[in-house]
């Protein structure tokens, strides 16, 4: 009688051939991702090869893309299923195999952890000057169009339109006001230049943008490059028209409209996340080894002020010593402006503990397995003494035989 269909699927899912095939696919992806980083930057390469279901190849001269190779997500998912099914199916539930159970559970958790990170991790940054107090962090690769109500001194009312909404275009009403923003055009990366005499404009009739032309550029993913987005928006409120504006990260001069007695500043900027607490940079230090430019340490002395808890304290953030607070971790990442500007990398990863847990499980599992195998090896050696070169090598030989027994067990199982 032939095996049932379920049994066959079950078998295929736990097949060792699938494991090896997936591992080889992963190796190929890792190599491709590494090489691609030279031109695409880390983020671009990781998105193309690792954080995708398939690796796509754009047919030259057309807009069509063809999936040519499984991507990291697919390989990871297959490996996860394969590992889980194989563990459940092959591994007998016994003390003898407890170490292997722990190890495999740890490995599964490691893959899960990478999925959680890919889905949930948010990276932002805090660029702060000495003496400055900030209550927000910025996403380095995301943008927003903000209308900031600056009428009340010491307080900012912020209306932000996220990048996805800008990409979609169309009108957006600002809640609580009758202001409407009509997004005419959004360019993720643009180059601004002065409009030539007699050249047709882009419909911008207000602000500094009227004399400027924004030309779209290909978006960049390189680690050392940033997009410079631009948006053309028309602002109105009922019958009052406030004109068409160009907003861009490259425009330094402030642009604002007055509506209903309030002053609104128009900004295109990195997407901000406001925090329920404020951070003040008291001092940034950049130590070098005497007589050289080799950096010895970077550190930021910050003051944390959280009125909700309430909490007021000073913290020193330095290399390998981040501040973990409110679900975020602040790391010393960079610096600038003659050592007065400190740039902190801010990471929000709800799954940050998973790799620690999985590492502990794998280590524990291997240790348990090793000790159990060693004990059996010693017992066997006592029962039938093997002639091994020299007395001193006895212990080593036991370890080797334990490893070999493990191999046999694997080959049989």
């Amino acid at each position: 009688m032939s095996k049932s269909r379920t049994a066959r699927i079950w078998e295929a899912l736990s097949s060792l051939k699938v494991t090896i095939g997936t591992l080889l696919v992963l190796m190929a992806l890792v190599v491709a991702c590494t090489l691609a980083q030279v031109n695409m930057g880390t983020l671009g390469a990781v998105n193309a090869y690792v954080r995708s279901w398939f690796v796509w190849w754009q047919v030259p001269g057309t807009a069509f893309s063809v999936a040519v190779f499984p991507g990291g997500v697919l390989a990871g998912a297959v490996l996860l299923v394969n590992l889980s099914v194989a563990t459940l199916r092959r591994l007998e539930l016994s003390w003898r195999k407890s170490g292997l159970w722990l190890t495999h559970a740890g490995l599964i958790l490691l893959v899960v952890g990478e999925f959680v990170t890919a889905l949930a991790q948010v990276e932002s940054r805090l660029s702060i000057e000495q003496g400055q107090t900030l209550n927000f962090v910025e996403r380095p690769r995301e943008y927003e169009l903000a209308l900031v109500d600056t009428s009340e001194p010491g307080f900012e009312g912020v209306y932000a339109i996220p990048e996805s909404r800008l990409q979609a275009g169309g009108t957006v009403g600002l809640p609580g006001t009758d202001l409407v923003v009509d997004v005419k055009r959004f360019m993720l990366n643009a180059e601004l230049r002065r409009r030539a005499e007699g050249e047709a404009g882009q419909g911008v009739d207000r602000g500094v943008g009227a004399g400027v032309v924004a030309e779209p550029q290909a978006p960049v993913t390189r680690d050392d490059a940033e997009n410079q987005p631009a948006a053309i928006v028309e602002i109105s409120a009922g019958r009052s028209r406030y004109g068409t504006w160009l907003a861009s990260t490259q425009l330094g001069a402030p642009q604002s409209i007055v509506h209903g007695g309030k002053n609104y500043q128009l900004l295109l900027r990195n997407r901000r996340e406001y925090l329920p607490y404020a951070v003040t940079l008291k001092k940034f230090s950049h130590d070098v080894y005497p007589g050289t430019n080799i950096p010895k340490n970077f550190s930021s002395l910050v003051h944390l002020s959280n009125p909700t808890v309430p909490e007021e304290r000073d913290i020193l953030i330095f290399m390998n010593q981040p501040l973990r607070y409110g679900g975020k971790a602040f790391y010393q990442a960079s610096f600038g402006r003659g050592d007065t500007l400190s740039i902190l990398q801010v990471v929000d990863n709800p799954g940050w503990l998973i790799p620690y847990l999985s590492c502990a499980l794998v280590t524990l599992g291997l240790l348990v397995h090793f000790v159990l195998s060693l004990r059996r090896g010693v017992k066997r050696a006592a029962a039938a003494p093997v002639v091994v070169a020299g007395a001193g090598a006895g212990a080593v030989a036991q370890v080797v035989s334990a490893v070999q027994e493990h191999a046999q067990a694997q080959a049989e199982g």
Binding site: I294, N349, A411
Partner: protein, 593 residues
């Protein structure tokens, strides 16, 4: 008497004794106490080191080796440095600049000669301006994108500049320190001292009172500002005058004075400076390399006859080499106050050490001579690699901020490097297997099985270490920049090794590959490990750029090509009647003595 025991022991001990001979300081040369000069402490590259290290590293960078022949005698680094600093006219005539690039030579109107690749500063002098112009143009190009000419001219500019700085650290070109001291009151002195300060390569003046280590220019400027003269200034002036005039007594007297001034200023650190001088003289890794070669030669000879005696001697030599290697490694740990692996150079030294120790262990268990051969060959090979990596300069440089963590250097870096040792050892055993299988045709089935079980065991070991090391690296990354895994090239390299070891083991457990396949895959591990170790440093992306390299690309490509040949050799079935061995040995072999 049992000569088979006495001879190996004697040879082994003699090798260690020969290696340690360098501990004894050399006798004064023509009356000059060069050993005392070499111990003088100076601050350079952020740490206190003996002038001996400055001299050796500078000569290594400029010339590519640590001595040269001039006017019929061999000039050692210390003598050379003395000439550069105090008799510049003579130093300018010494052939210390190695130039291999024909375009650079052509630019200066020289034809490339097969017999002499070394040029003097006088040869370069008329062309300094063009070297400076072309070199600084080339240096504006990103180092990864430079053409061969650009790389060569930029490198020459760096070396000429280093030489120029050394010349102008203790005195200003031809103006002796004594005359500078006398002229400190003159109105032009300020500008002269400023120029010296911008060129100073090291700081020789020991701390006095609250002052730190100072350069000669700083000392002179303080003098001009009305401070009391630093006593070491005067002593260095007399030292230089004595060397230039060729009067050993005065030379040695000023050295005694400088020694006591250093003792007064930095007594606590002087011990490690002296120890570094001894370490430099002994050159334990060079000595280890020579001993490993001897072990290999003795082993090769053993195949011709007197097998038992010669194999025991080879093992004794290997053990001596390992002892010298270990001693060198321990000295570096103590001198630097750091775990063994801190840069690419030390990783090569450590990988070699790991393979040798594991090879010795395998030899102890299996006693088939293969452990000795493989250990000696890989120890030698990795020390050769280290030797070439040392040409970049100081191998004990200070750690950049993010790497400045002894805990993670001791755990993550050491563990992952042991993983490299494991994969290389497995690959080396596989190569030995292939060579014996096809060339020597001396492989009986028992040995073949033993070798395959060795490879298997070593790969298990490497998987464990590579995996643990990689995960620890992830934890370090999470601690220092907030992400466990960032697909950085160095991380990817480590992951590739883990995946490859896992593929080998699973393929064996599933019975998809047998002896031949495992051997071929183990050799493939050499390629993957070397690419992960060196290849990613050539990509020039990522946060892990602890090892920077320019020209090793072809060496790496050649190594990988040779490994592909061995992979092919592993896969070719053996001709003749013994062919069945490769199909029967799928399971692990029993151990036998």
């Amino acid at each position: 008497m049992n000569w088979n025991k006495i001879i190996p022991w004697t040879v082994g001990l003699a090798a260690i004794a020969a290696a340690l001979a360098g501990v004894v300081p050399p006798a004064p040369s023509r009356g000059f106490d060069l050993a005392a000069f070499s111990r003088l402490p100076v601050l350079e590259g952020g740490r206190l080191k003996p002038l001996d290290s400055v001299a050796r590293n500078a000569l290594l960078v400029i010339r590519g080796n640590q001595s040269f022949s001039f006017e019929g005698r061999t000039v050692k680094p210390n003598e050379w440095l003395l000439d550069v600093m105090f008799r510049p006219a003579r130093a300018d005539k010494q052939p210390v600049f190695v130039i291999n690039d024909p375009e650079v030579l052509g630019m200066m109107g020289y034809e490339q000669k097969a017999t002499n690749r070394y040029y003097t500063f006088e040869d370069l002098k008329p062309h300094l301006q063009v070297i400076q112009e072309q070199g600084s143009t080339a240096q504006r190009v990103d180092s990864k994108q430079r053409t061969r000419f650009q790389a060569a001219i930029s490198n020459l500019l760096d070396r000429v500049f280093l030489y120029y700085r050394l010349k102008n650290t203790l005195q200003l070109d031809a103006a002796s320190l004594g005359s500078l001291l006398k002229g400190a009151g003159s109105p032009q002195a300020g500008a002269v001292f400023d120029e010296m300060a911008s060129l100073a390569y090291f700081r020789p003046l020991p701390p006095v009172g609250t002052a730190r280590w100072r350069s000669v220019a700083e000392g002179l400027k303080a003098l001009m500002a009305g401070d009391a003269p630093a006593p070491a200034l005067d002593a260095y002036a007399r030292l230089g005058a004595a060397w230039a005039a060729g009067t050993p007594e005065a030379f040695n007297t000023s050295l005694v004075q400088l020694r006591s001034l250093s003792l007064a200023g930095a007594a606590a650190e002087l011990g490690s400076v002296d120890a570094e001088t001894v370490f430099n003289r002994v050159q334990p890794f060079y000595a280890g390399m020579v001993i490993y070669v001897l072990a290999l030669l003795v082993l090769f000879t053993s195949w011709l006859g007197r097998r038992e005696l010669l194999q025991a001697t080879a093992l004794a030599l290997l053990t001596s080499g390992a002892i010298v290697h270990t001693a060198g490694l321990l000295s570096r740990i103590v001198l630097q106050g750091r775990p063994p692996v801190t840069n690419l150079y030390s990783s090569a030294v450590f990988v070699g050490w790991g393979t040798v120790v594991m090879g010795l262990l395998l030899e102890r268990i299996y006693r088939r001579g293969v452990g000795t051969a493989v250990a000696a060959a890989s120890g030698f090979a990795s020390l050769i690699v280290a030797h070439h990596l040392a040409a970049d300069g100081d191998t004990m440089e200070m750690m950049r901020a993010v790497l400045d963590s002894n805990f993670w250097l001791a755990t993550h870096v050491v563990i992952i490097t042991i993983g490299y040792s494991g994969t290389f050892l497995a690959g080396a055993i596989a190569i030995a297997w292939a060579l014996r299988q096809h060339l020597a045709r001396t492989l009986e089935p028992g040995t073949s099985r033993a070798l395959s079980s060795m490879v298997y065991g070593v790969i298990c070991f490497s998987l464990l270490f590579s995996f643990t090391g990689t995960v620890l690296g992830g934890i370090w990354a999470d601690q220092s920049w907030g992400r466990f895994w960032g697909w950085d090239p160095k991380e990817n390299g480590a992951l590739l090794i883990v995946l490859w070891c896992a593929v080998i083991l699973h393929a064996r457990w599933g019975g998809y590959v047998r002896e031949r396949g495992i051997m071929a895959m183990a050799v493939g591990g050499n390629i993957i490990t070397s690419l992960s170790w060196f290849g990613v440093n050539m990509l020039g992306v990522g946060l892990h750029s602890y090892g920077f390299m320019d020209n090793a690309f072809w060496a790496l490509a050649g190594f990988c090509a040779s490994q592909l040949v061995f992979v092919a050799l592993c896969l070719v079935p053996r001709r003749g009647p013994a062919q069945r061995t490769s199909s029967t040995a799928g399971e692990a072999a029993p151990i036998s003595a």
